[in-house]
Symmetry: C2
Subunit: 427 residues, 2 copies
């Protein structure tokens, strides 16, 4: 008997996962490759960074997702390259995965736009490691502020600059202000009477540029109410260890610089011999196939899919739609049919500004405040389905909603704590 066609999916994000789910139980052998052993529900990452959720609340092992799906295999590894002639994916360590169809779904990474000092000094908010690092950092800054010898240093430590007025920056700034408001007065008596400062910096003239203007303004107003300074039409020009430089303003002394200004396609996209758009994304045809590369699809943030003369945005919704579409096209091709054109259906956008406050746009419907928050909650819980721990997440939310608490305020790090060091024994 001939082996069944092999489909290799690189990346277990929203796109790759949607694709693999659609191929589960179909007459193909699927291998999902990711450097992490989990799928990450990135829309809630800012809640890990702001001490509200545990990592495992939003990270689900890929193997658990495909438990019982005998035609889907997980491979933990770092992809170094693709040999398009031999139809083989090369992994770190020398292993290879041959494919009949390849789906590139490697996603994106924080884009520092070459701002001097940013890559070294700023904290990202794009993966779980970054979120934990940011949580540890902010809690550490509060501790240091309680021990600061002079008022100027304390003020600097309690200044948080968030760069980027998209959903991530807006949501994190709102969550950070709630964390500080809830925790500082109750647990940091040393900081009584000392005020903190959160500055949200956005280069465009409004926040949430992808949203209707009314919602942008609503988000700005709500953040200001929460004590966030919103600076629109302003760019960060340099970041040093102790201060942040904005264009046309004096430097801001800051203990924390959070970089949520944008993303760029993951490193692998730049090393493959494929066509790329100006934004660095891999050019695909109307059916999501990589041009000039037989049997290769690209989806999600890493793919440059043009619709109505614009690239589809780097968001989870188009990635999931493309993942399912690529899977369907692969099955069509293998059945001797023709691949179909993809069309992205924008079902709306939403962003939380804080506890029981969000902006949401669904079709022509625009919601703000509590109704917006309920809409946000329903959608996010719906998409957490498949996460067995959504019940825990929901209970955790309810609990903390009632208690006004932020339970996960521990500064922890694997391999650190009691004076231990890195282990020689891998991995």
């Amino acid at each position: 008997m001939m082996g069944r066609p092999r489909v290799v999916i690189v990346g277990a994000g929203f796109g790759g996962l949607a694709c693999a789910r659609k191929l589960a139980g179909k007459p193909v052998e699927v291998a999902v490759i990711d450097r992490n052993n989990y799928h990450l529900f990135t829309p809630l990452l800012y809640q890990v960074a702001s001490s509200l959720l545990n990592p495992s609340d939003i990270a689900q092992p890929v193997r658990a997702i495909f438990r019982g799906k005998r035609n889907v295999r997980f491979v933990r590894g770092e992809v170094l390259g693709v040999d398009f002639e031999r139809r083989t994916v090369r992994l770190e360590g020398g292993a290879e995965e041959p494919y009949d169809r390849l789906v590139l779904a490697v996603g994106s990474t924080t884009n520092f736009f070459g701002v001097s000092g940013a890559e070294e000094g700023a904290l990202g908010l794009k993966d779980l490691g970054e979120a934990l690092e940011l949580r540890n950092h902010v809690l550490g800054v509060l501790e240091r502020a309680t021990q600061a010898q002079d008022a100027g240093e304390r003020e600097r430590l309690l200044t948080f600059v968030v760069v980027g007025g998209g959903p991530t920056g807006v949501e994190y700034a709102g969550a950070l202000s709630e964390l500080l408001k809830l925790v500082v007065p109750r647990e940091y008596p040393e900081l009584e009477g000392v005020s903190w400062r959160i500055v949200l910096v956005e280069g465009l003239p409004r926040l949430l540029n992808a949203f209707p203007e009314k919602l942008s303004e609503e988000a700005r107003r709500e953040l200001v109410k929460k004590g966030v300074e919103v600076r629109l039409g302003t760019r960060v020009t340099a970041a040093a260890e102790e201060h942040v430089q904005l264009d046309g303003a004096e430097p801001i002394g800051a203990g924390t610089l959070v970089w949520a200004a944008g993303v760029r396609p993951s490193g692998l996209a730049g090393t493959l011999d494929v066509g790329r758009s100006r934004s660095g994304r891999i050019e695909v045809d109307a059916a999501l196939r990589v041009r000039r590369r037989d049997g290769v699809y690209a989806i999600g943030d890493v793919a440059s899919f043009v619709q109505d003369e614009r690239e589809v945005p780097m968001l989870s919704a188009p990635a999931m739609q493309q993942g399912r579409h690529a899977a369907a096209n692969i099955l069509r091709e293998l059945a001797g049919e023709r691949a179909r054109r993809f069309r992205y259906r924008d079902k709306g956008s939403m962003a939380t500004i804080g506890r029981n406050d969000a902006v949401a746009q669904v079709g022509r419907l625009q919601l703000t405040g509590f109704p917006g928050w309920v809409a946000w909650l329903v959608v996010h819980l719906y998409y957490l389905i498949g996460f067995r721990n959504r019940l825990v997440v929901l209970m955790g939310w309810a609990w903390n909603y009632v208690r006004l608490d932020r339970p996960v305020r521990i500064i922890a790090r694997a391999g650190e704590g009691g004076g231990t060091r890195e282990k020689a024994r891998g991995p």
Copy 2:
């Protein structure tokens, strides 16, 4: 008005915390110093290491514990030394904490007993960083085993050596066998038909040496039933990257070496100018006061308190009793009364061997199996009181009990994941 007497407590473990709790609301100013911002419920650490609990389930911020207690202050920092003449504690970074009474409660750390290679190659299970490192390591080893090129390498990767037959070693070996039994057959189809191996090594002729002999034998029998190889009267003589050497036996190829063979007093104990017992613990008098050092107490693992011609063991129960006693003695002294002698009351010991199986000895009562497990559960939940998240812990247990699941199986690490690196910006 004269300032109230200052009590400085170094260490927020069981001893330090019990002491500070007793002093809350009393006419003293208390400073609790710890390098971590949380108190750790170490008896459940092995459950974090075996993917059952999240770090925040067993780690509670010290500030949260003393919320509203206006006379207790938290200082996050590393203590470098004590100037007994000037009655001042020196912290890393140059800060100082003056005291009228000092309580040394710095606890203990993993003891590698100078075994060659152990400190570099073995994984400890004594603090949160070590537990997370061990969790990541074991999950990583399983992934590597699925990709191993030859059977010998796969066998080595799936061999786990646990050194130390005390409660930590026994509980972790049992929990690890359950993790492997639950997860491997369901989620690692690549390892179908491949067997894993857990070897528990103990130098003494029986497990759980502090327990009655009958319970030791019961624990051994139950572990063997769970597939754990128990080697009594055996010592590890050397550890290399790929194998472990036992005395009088051929080397065991192993991908994991867990070191739970014992603890020794924390580093600070060895650098202070105080009397020390042969085990390195600080010598104290009958009232828990450090000899020759006015106003200084030592409690818990770091203190050598001799009762019935033996040092009181390094366990949480005596540490808590001593913490409360030291607090009472400090209050007595400050009130012009005499400090009283301490006496440790052994209320029993218990250890879980797995889901619904434990051994417990309470006074003359000896419990095994399910009754033992219920006793264990009741006691541990009781001591988790003060942890607001005990409800979450309980629900998590119940949930996983029903689902036979291990939810926290993600390989995560602050500052790692998407190819980010360490940040220059401290802390």
